[in-house]
Symmetry: D2
Protein backbone atom coordinates (compact mmCIF):
# COMPACT_ATOMS: atom_id res chain seq x y z
CA UNK A 1 0.00 0.00 0.00
CA UNK A 2 1.34 3.43 -0.86
CA UNK A 3 2.16 5.59 2.13
CA UNK A 4 0.44 8.93 1.70
CA UNK A 5 -1.14 11.44 4.00
CA UNK A 6 -4.90 11.09 4.37
CA UNK A 7 -6.86 14.10 3.17
CA UNK A 8 -9.15 15.88 5.61
CA UNK A 9 -12.01 13.92 4.04
CA UNK A 10 -10.18 10.58 4.43
CA UNK A 11 -9.57 11.36 8.09
CA UNK A 12 -13.20 12.22 8.75
CA UNK A 13 -14.31 9.03 7.06
CA UNK A 14 -11.82 6.99 9.09
CA UNK A 15 -12.95 8.47 12.41
CA UNK A 16 -16.55 7.78 11.46
CA UNK A 17 -15.77 4.17 10.55
CA UNK A 18 -13.75 3.53 13.72
CA UNK A 19 -16.52 4.97 15.86
CA UNK A 20 -19.10 2.74 14.20
CA UNK A 21 -17.33 -0.47 15.23
CA UNK A 22 -16.07 0.95 18.54
CA UNK A 23 -16.23 4.53 19.90
CA UNK A 24 -14.17 7.37 21.34
CA UNK A 25 -11.85 8.19 18.45
CA UNK A 26 -11.22 11.89 17.87
CA UNK A 27 -8.59 14.02 16.15
CA UNK A 28 -6.44 15.92 18.64
CA UNK A 29 -3.18 17.75 17.85
CA UNK A 30 -3.62 16.39 14.32
CA UNK A 31 -3.34 12.86 15.71
CA UNK A 32 -5.79 9.96 15.79
CA UNK A 33 -6.60 9.89 19.50
CA UNK A 34 -8.51 7.66 21.89
CA UNK A 35 -8.68 7.17 25.63
CA UNK A 36 -9.23 3.56 26.65
CA UNK A 37 -10.45 2.76 30.16
CA UNK A 38 -9.99 -0.78 31.48
CA UNK A 39 -11.09 -2.51 34.67
CA UNK A 40 -7.72 -2.19 36.32
CA UNK A 41 -4.01 -1.61 35.76
CA UNK A 42 -3.34 -5.23 35.00
CA UNK A 43 -5.78 -5.32 32.10
CA UNK A 44 -4.58 -1.96 30.80
CA UNK A 45 -1.02 -3.26 30.70
CA UNK A 46 -2.09 -6.51 29.02
CA UNK A 47 -3.62 -4.36 26.30
CA UNK A 48 -0.43 -2.35 26.02
CA UNK A 49 1.68 -5.49 25.70
CA UNK A 50 -0.40 -6.90 22.86
CA UNK A 51 -0.36 -3.51 21.14
CA UNK A 52 3.41 -3.19 21.67
CA UNK A 53 4.14 -6.56 20.08
CA UNK A 54 2.01 -5.63 17.07
CA UNK A 55 3.43 -2.09 16.79
CA UNK A 56 7.00 -3.37 16.69
CA UNK A 57 6.06 -5.98 14.10
CA UNK A 58 4.65 -3.40 11.69
CA UNK A 59 7.26 -0.85 12.76
CA UNK A 60 4.68 1.79 13.57
CA UNK A 61 4.62 2.86 17.22
CA UNK A 62 1.99 4.75 19.18
CA UNK A 63 2.44 7.77 21.39
CA UNK A 64 0.68 6.65 24.52
CA UNK A 65 0.15 7.68 28.09
CA UNK A 66 -0.91 5.37 30.90
CA UNK A 67 -2.00 5.90 34.45
CA UNK A 68 -3.62 3.03 36.31
CA UNK A 69 -6.55 1.74 34.19
CA UNK A 70 -6.43 4.44 31.54
CA UNK A 71 -4.44 4.40 28.30
CA UNK A 72 -4.50 7.43 26.01
CA UNK A 73 -3.27 6.67 22.51
CA UNK A 74 -2.21 9.16 19.83
CA UNK A 75 -1.38 7.94 16.35
CA UNK A 76 0.39 9.85 13.59
CA UNK A 77 2.67 8.96 10.67
CA UNK A 78 5.70 11.22 10.90
CA UNK A 79 6.91 10.30 7.39
CA UNK A 80 3.86 12.00 5.90
CA UNK A 81 3.30 14.56 8.66
CA UNK A 82 -0.22 13.35 9.11
CA UNK A 83 -2.50 10.37 9.39
CA UNK A 84 -2.09 7.41 7.03
CA UNK A 85 -3.32 3.86 6.54
CA UNK A 86 -0.71 2.81 9.12
CA UNK A 87 -2.59 4.70 11.83
CA UNK A 88 -5.91 3.33 10.63
CA UNK A 89 -4.50 -0.19 10.83
CA UNK A 90 -2.98 0.25 14.30
CA UNK A 91 -6.18 1.86 15.59
CA UNK A 92 -8.27 -1.10 14.40
CA UNK A 93 -5.83 -3.57 15.94
CA UNK A 94 -5.86 -1.77 19.27
CA UNK A 95 -9.64 -1.70 19.29
CA UNK A 96 -9.68 -5.45 18.63
CA UNK A 97 -7.27 -6.10 21.54
CA UNK A 98 -9.24 -3.85 23.87
CA UNK A 99 -12.52 -5.43 22.85
CA UNK A 100 -12.20 -8.63 24.85
CA UNK A 101 -10.62 -6.88 27.81
CA UNK A 102 -12.86 -3.91 28.63
CA UNK B 1 -6.86 -17.97 54.78
CA UNK B 2 -4.85 -20.86 56.24
CA UNK B 3 -2.41 -22.43 53.83
CA UNK B 4 -2.98 -26.16 53.84
CA UNK B 5 -2.80 -28.89 51.28
CA UNK B 6 -6.09 -29.75 49.63
CA UNK B 7 -7.28 -33.29 50.26
CA UNK B 8 -7.91 -35.58 47.30
CA UNK B 9 -11.59 -34.74 47.69
CA UNK B 10 -10.92 -30.98 47.73
CA UNK B 11 -8.88 -31.30 44.55
CA UNK B 12 -11.59 -33.25 42.73
CA UNK B 13 -14.17 -30.69 43.78
CA UNK B 14 -11.94 -27.85 42.61
CA UNK B 15 -11.33 -29.41 39.18
CA UNK B 16 -15.05 -29.97 38.80
CA UNK B 17 -15.84 -26.38 39.71
CA UNK B 18 -13.18 -24.93 37.40
CA UNK B 19 -14.43 -27.05 34.52
CA UNK B 20 -17.98 -25.88 35.05
CA UNK B 21 -17.09 -22.22 34.52
CA UNK B 22 -14.43 -22.97 31.92
CA UNK B 23 -12.91 -26.31 30.80
CA UNK B 24 -9.71 -28.26 30.32
CA UNK B 25 -8.37 -28.44 33.88
CA UNK B 26 -6.82 -31.76 34.85
CA UNK B 27 -4.38 -33.04 37.47
CA UNK B 28 -1.02 -33.97 35.98
CA UNK B 29 2.18 -34.69 37.94
CA UNK B 30 0.15 -33.78 41.02
CA UNK B 31 -0.28 -30.26 39.60
CA UNK B 32 -3.35 -28.31 38.52
CA UNK B 33 -2.83 -28.30 34.78
CA UNK B 34 -4.41 -26.65 31.74
CA UNK B 35 -3.45 -26.01 28.16
CA UNK B 36 -4.75 -22.73 26.78
CA UNK B 37 -4.89 -22.17 23.06
CA UNK B 38 -5.18 -18.61 21.75
CA UNK B 39 -5.61 -17.12 18.28
CA UNK B 40 -1.97 -16.23 17.90
CA UNK B 41 1.30 -15.63 19.74
CA UNK B 42 0.46 -12.02 20.45
CA UNK B 43 -2.71 -12.90 22.34
CA UNK B 44 -1.01 -15.77 24.16
CA UNK B 45 1.68 -13.41 25.41
CA UNK B 46 -0.89 -10.78 26.41
CA UNK B 47 -2.49 -13.48 28.57
CA UNK B 48 0.89 -14.36 30.05
CA UNK B 49 1.63 -10.72 30.88
CA UNK B 50 -1.64 -10.23 32.75
CA UNK B 51 -1.09 -13.52 34.58
CA UNK B 52 2.52 -12.59 35.39
CA UNK B 53 1.54 -9.25 36.93
CA UNK B 54 -1.07 -11.00 39.09
CA UNK B 55 1.24 -13.89 40.03
CA UNK B 56 3.92 -11.53 41.28
CA UNK B 57 1.38 -9.50 43.23
CA UNK B 58 0.15 -12.54 45.16
CA UNK B 59 3.65 -14.05 45.21
CA UNK B 60 2.50 -17.34 43.71
CA UNK B 61 4.04 -18.15 40.34
CA UNK B 62 2.99 -20.67 37.70
CA UNK B 63 5.12 -23.24 35.96
CA UNK B 64 4.27 -22.55 32.37
CA UNK B 65 5.36 -23.51 28.89
CA UNK B 66 4.63 -21.50 25.75
CA UNK B 67 5.04 -22.16 22.09
CA UNK B 68 3.34 -19.85 19.62
CA UNK B 69 -0.39 -19.70 20.51
CA UNK B 70 -0.32 -22.37 23.22
CA UNK B 71 0.30 -21.89 26.93
CA UNK B 72 0.45 -24.90 29.25
CA UNK B 73 0.10 -23.99 32.90
CA UNK B 74 0.93 -26.16 35.92
CA UNK B 75 0.07 -24.94 39.41
CA UNK B 76 1.31 -26.33 42.70
CA UNK B 77 2.05 -24.93 46.16
CA UNK B 78 5.53 -26.07 47.13
CA UNK B 79 5.10 -25.01 50.78
CA UNK B 80 2.45 -27.70 51.23
CA UNK B 81 3.73 -30.15 48.60
CA UNK B 82 0.38 -30.12 46.90
CA UNK B 83 -2.51 -28.02 45.70
CA UNK B 84 -3.91 -25.23 47.86
CA UNK B 85 -6.33 -22.31 47.69
CA UNK B 86 -3.46 -20.31 46.11
CA UNK B 87 -3.59 -22.54 43.04
CA UNK B 88 -7.38 -22.39 42.95
CA UNK B 89 -7.20 -18.60 43.04
CA UNK B 90 -4.53 -18.31 40.33
CA UNK B 91 -6.40 -20.81 38.12
CA UNK B 92 -9.60 -18.75 38.34
CA UNK B 93 -7.72 -15.53 37.60
CA UNK B 94 -6.02 -17.06 34.56
CA UNK B 95 -9.34 -18.33 33.25
CA UNK B 96 -10.80 -14.86 33.64
CA UNK B 97 -7.89 -13.30 31.70
CA UNK B 98 -8.11 -15.92 28.97
CA UNK B 99 -11.85 -15.53 28.71
CA UNK B 100 -11.92 -12.29 26.76
CA UNK B 101 -8.96 -13.26 24.61
CA UNK B 102 -9.68 -16.72 23.28
CA UNK C 1 6.55 3.09 57.09
CA UNK C 2 4.16 5.94 57.71
CA UNK C 3 2.73 7.51 54.58
CA UNK C 4 3.28 11.24 54.76
CA UNK C 5 4.01 13.98 52.28
CA UNK C 6 7.67 14.81 51.90
CA UNK C 7 8.57 18.37 52.87
CA UNK C 8 10.20 20.64 50.29
CA UNK C 9 13.52 19.81 51.97
CA UNK C 10 12.87 16.03 51.82
CA UNK C 11 12.07 16.31 48.11
CA UNK C 12 15.24 18.26 47.36
CA UNK C 13 17.30 15.72 49.25
CA UNK C 14 15.62 12.85 47.40
CA UNK C 15 16.25 14.39 43.96
CA UNK C 16 19.87 14.97 44.92
CA UNK C 17 20.27 11.37 46.08
CA UNK C 18 18.61 9.89 43.00
CA UNK C 19 20.79 11.99 40.72
CA UNK C 20 23.93 10.83 42.50
CA UNK C 21 23.29 7.17 41.71
CA UNK C 22 21.69 7.87 38.33
CA UNK C 23 20.69 11.21 36.72
CA UNK C 24 17.85 13.13 35.11
CA UNK C 25 15.35 13.37 37.97
CA UNK C 26 13.56 16.69 38.29
CA UNK C 27 10.37 17.98 39.90
CA UNK C 28 7.75 18.91 37.31
CA UNK C 29 4.06 19.64 38.01
CA UNK C 30 4.89 18.75 41.63
CA UNK C 31 5.77 15.22 40.47
CA UNK C 32 9.02 13.28 40.56
CA UNK C 33 9.85 13.21 36.86
CA UNK C 34 12.40 11.55 34.61
CA UNK C 35 12.76 10.88 30.91
CA UNK C 36 14.45 7.58 30.13
CA UNK C 37 15.90 6.99 26.68
CA UNK C 38 16.62 3.42 25.59
CA UNK C 39 18.26 1.91 22.53
CA UNK C 40 14.97 1.01 20.90
CA UNK C 41 11.26 0.41 21.47
CA UNK C 42 11.78 -3.19 22.48
CA UNK C 43 14.08 -2.29 25.35
CA UNK C 44 11.86 0.59 26.43
CA UNK C 45 8.90 -1.77 26.66
CA UNK C 46 10.94 -4.38 28.54
CA UNK C 47 11.68 -1.67 31.10
CA UNK C 48 8.00 -0.77 31.27
CA UNK C 49 7.00 -4.40 31.84
CA UNK C 50 9.41 -4.87 34.75
CA UNK C 51 8.26 -1.56 36.23
CA UNK C 52 4.59 -2.49 35.71
CA UNK C 53 4.96 -5.81 37.55
CA UNK C 54 6.64 -4.04 40.46
CA UNK C 55 4.17 -1.14 40.50
CA UNK C 56 1.19 -3.49 40.75
CA UNK C 57 2.89 -5.48 43.49
CA UNK C 58 3.37 -2.42 45.70
CA UNK C 59 0.09 -0.93 44.48
CA UNK C 60 1.70 2.35 43.45
CA UNK C 61 1.44 3.13 39.75
CA UNK C 62 3.36 5.62 37.64
CA UNK C 63 1.99 8.18 35.22
CA UNK C 64 4.05 7.45 32.17
CA UNK C 65 4.26 8.37 28.53
CA UNK C 66 6.04 6.33 25.86
CA UNK C 67 6.94 6.96 22.28
CA UNK C 68 9.42 4.63 20.60
CA UNK C 69 12.58 4.50 22.76
CA UNK C 70 11.57 7.19 25.23
CA UNK C 71 9.67 6.73 28.48
CA UNK C 72 8.71 9.77 30.56
CA UNK C 73 7.75 8.90 34.12
CA UNK C 74 5.91 11.09 36.62
CA UNK C 75 5.50 9.91 40.20
CA UNK C 76 3.17 11.32 42.85
CA UNK C 77 1.26 9.95 45.83
CA UNK C 78 -2.33 11.11 45.50
CA UNK C 79 -3.21 10.08 49.07
CA UNK C 80 -0.89 12.76 50.42
CA UNK C 81 -1.15 15.19 47.48
CA UNK C 82 2.58 15.14 47.08
CA UNK C 83 5.70 13.04 46.96
CA UNK C 84 6.24 10.27 49.53
CA UNK C 85 8.55 7.34 50.24
CA UNK C 86 6.43 5.34 47.77
CA UNK C 87 7.63 7.54 44.92
CA UNK C 88 11.21 7.39 46.17
CA UNK C 89 11.01 3.60 46.23
CA UNK C 90 9.47 3.29 42.75
CA UNK C 91 12.00 5.76 41.32
CA UNK C 92 14.91 3.71 42.69
CA UNK C 93 13.41 0.49 41.36
CA UNK C 94 12.88 1.98 37.90
CA UNK C 95 16.46 3.25 37.83
CA UNK C 96 17.69 -0.23 38.74
CA UNK C 97 15.63 -1.81 35.92
CA UNK C 98 16.82 0.79 33.41
CA UNK C 99 20.41 0.42 34.51
CA UNK C 100 21.15 -2.85 32.73
CA UNK C 101 19.14 -1.89 29.67
CA UNK C 102 20.30 1.57 28.64
CA UNK D 1 19.41 -15.45 3.61
CA UNK D 2 18.46 -18.89 2.39
CA UNK D 3 16.64 -21.02 4.91
CA UNK D 4 18.38 -24.35 5.14
CA UNK D 5 19.07 -26.82 7.89
CA UNK D 6 22.44 -26.46 9.56
CA UNK D 7 24.71 -29.46 9.18
CA UNK D 8 26.01 -31.22 12.28
CA UNK D 9 29.22 -29.26 11.78
CA UNK D 10 27.38 -25.93 11.48
CA UNK D 11 25.52 -26.66 14.70
CA UNK D 12 28.69 -27.51 16.61
CA UNK D 13 30.32 -24.32 15.37
CA UNK D 14 27.27 -22.27 16.37
CA UNK D 15 27.16 -23.71 19.90
CA UNK D 16 30.86 -23.02 20.28
CA UNK D 17 30.44 -19.43 19.10
CA UNK D 18 27.44 -18.76 21.34
CA UNK D 19 29.28 -20.16 24.35
CA UNK D 20 32.28 -17.95 23.69
CA UNK D 21 30.25 -14.75 23.98
CA UNK D 22 27.92 -16.14 26.66
CA UNK D 23 27.56 -19.69 28.02
CA UNK D 24 25.15 -22.54 28.68
CA UNK D 25 23.99 -23.38 25.15
CA UNK D 26 23.59 -27.09 24.43
CA UNK D 27 21.74 -29.25 21.93
CA UNK D 28 18.83 -31.12 23.52
CA UNK D 29 16.06 -32.97 21.65
CA UNK D 30 17.73 -31.65 18.50
CA UNK D 31 16.99 -28.10 19.66
CA UNK D 32 19.25 -25.20 20.57
CA UNK D 33 18.70 -25.09 24.31
CA UNK D 34 19.65 -22.83 27.20
CA UNK D 35 18.48 -22.28 30.74
CA UNK D 36 18.64 -18.68 31.87
CA UNK D 37 18.56 -17.84 35.56
CA UNK D 38 17.67 -14.30 36.60
CA UNK D 39 17.57 -12.51 39.95
CA UNK D 40 13.83 -12.83 40.30
CA UNK D 41 10.56 -13.44 38.47
CA UNK D 42 10.20 -9.81 37.50
CA UNK D 43 13.51 -9.75 35.65
CA UNK D 44 12.83 -13.14 34.05
CA UNK D 45 9.54 -11.85 32.67
CA UNK D 46 11.14 -8.62 31.45
CA UNK D 47 13.54 -10.78 29.47
CA UNK D 48 10.65 -12.81 28.09
CA UNK D 49 8.79 -9.67 27.02
CA UNK D 50 11.74 -8.29 25.08
CA UNK D 51 12.30 -11.70 23.49
CA UNK D 52 8.58 -12.02 22.66
CA UNK D 53 8.47 -8.68 20.87
CA UNK D 54 11.52 -9.63 18.83
CA UNK D 55 10.28 -13.17 18.10
CA UNK D 56 6.99 -11.89 16.72
CA UNK D 57 8.79 -9.30 14.60
CA UNK D 58 10.95 -11.91 12.88
CA UNK D 59 8.11 -14.45 12.99
CA UNK D 60 10.24 -17.09 14.69
CA UNK D 61 9.01 -18.12 18.13
CA UNK D 62 10.78 -19.97 20.92
CA UNK D 63 9.57 -22.96 22.86
CA UNK D 64 10.11 -21.79 26.40
CA UNK D 65 9.35 -22.80 29.93
CA UNK D 66 9.37 -20.47 32.92
CA UNK D 67 9.12 -20.96 36.63
CA UNK D 68 9.97 -18.06 38.91
CA UNK D 69 13.47 -16.79 37.96
CA UNK D 70 14.30 -19.53 35.45
CA UNK D 71 13.58 -19.52 31.72
CA UNK D 72 14.43 -22.56 29.63
CA UNK D 73 14.53 -21.85 25.91
CA UNK D 74 14.47 -24.37 23.05
CA UNK D 75 14.94 -23.19 19.49
CA UNK D 76 14.25 -25.11 16.31
CA UNK D 77 13.14 -24.28 12.78
CA UNK D 78 10.23 -26.55 11.93
CA UNK D 79 10.33 -25.66 8.22
CA UNK D 80 13.72 -27.38 7.91
CA UNK D 81 13.25 -29.92 10.73
CA UNK D 82 16.40 -28.69 12.37
CA UNK D 83 18.43 -25.70 13.40
CA UNK D 84 18.88 -22.76 11.03
CA UNK D 85 20.22 -19.20 10.96
CA UNK D 86 16.85 -18.14 12.44
CA UNK D 87 17.67 -19.99 15.65
CA UNK D 88 21.20 -18.62 15.69
CA UNK D 89 19.81 -15.11 15.34
CA UNK D 90 17.17 -15.51 18.06
CA UNK D 91 19.71 -17.11 20.41
CA UNK D 92 22.08 -14.15 20.01
CA UNK D 93 19.26 -11.67 20.54
CA UNK D 94 18.10 -13.45 23.71
CA UNK D 95 21.64 -13.49 25.06
CA UNK D 96 21.92 -9.76 24.42
CA UNK D 97 18.64 -9.09 26.27
CA UNK D 98 19.66 -11.31 29.18
CA UNK D 99 23.07 -9.72 29.37
CA UNK D 100 22.10 -6.52 31.10
CA UNK D 101 19.57 -8.25 33.33
CA UNK D 102 21.37 -11.18 34.90
Amino acid sequence: MKLEKYTQQDVEKLVLELNTESSGWIIEDGKLTKQYRFNDFNTAFGFMTMSAIYAEKVNHHPEWFNVYNKVTVQLITHDVSGISYKDADLARKMDSYANGLI
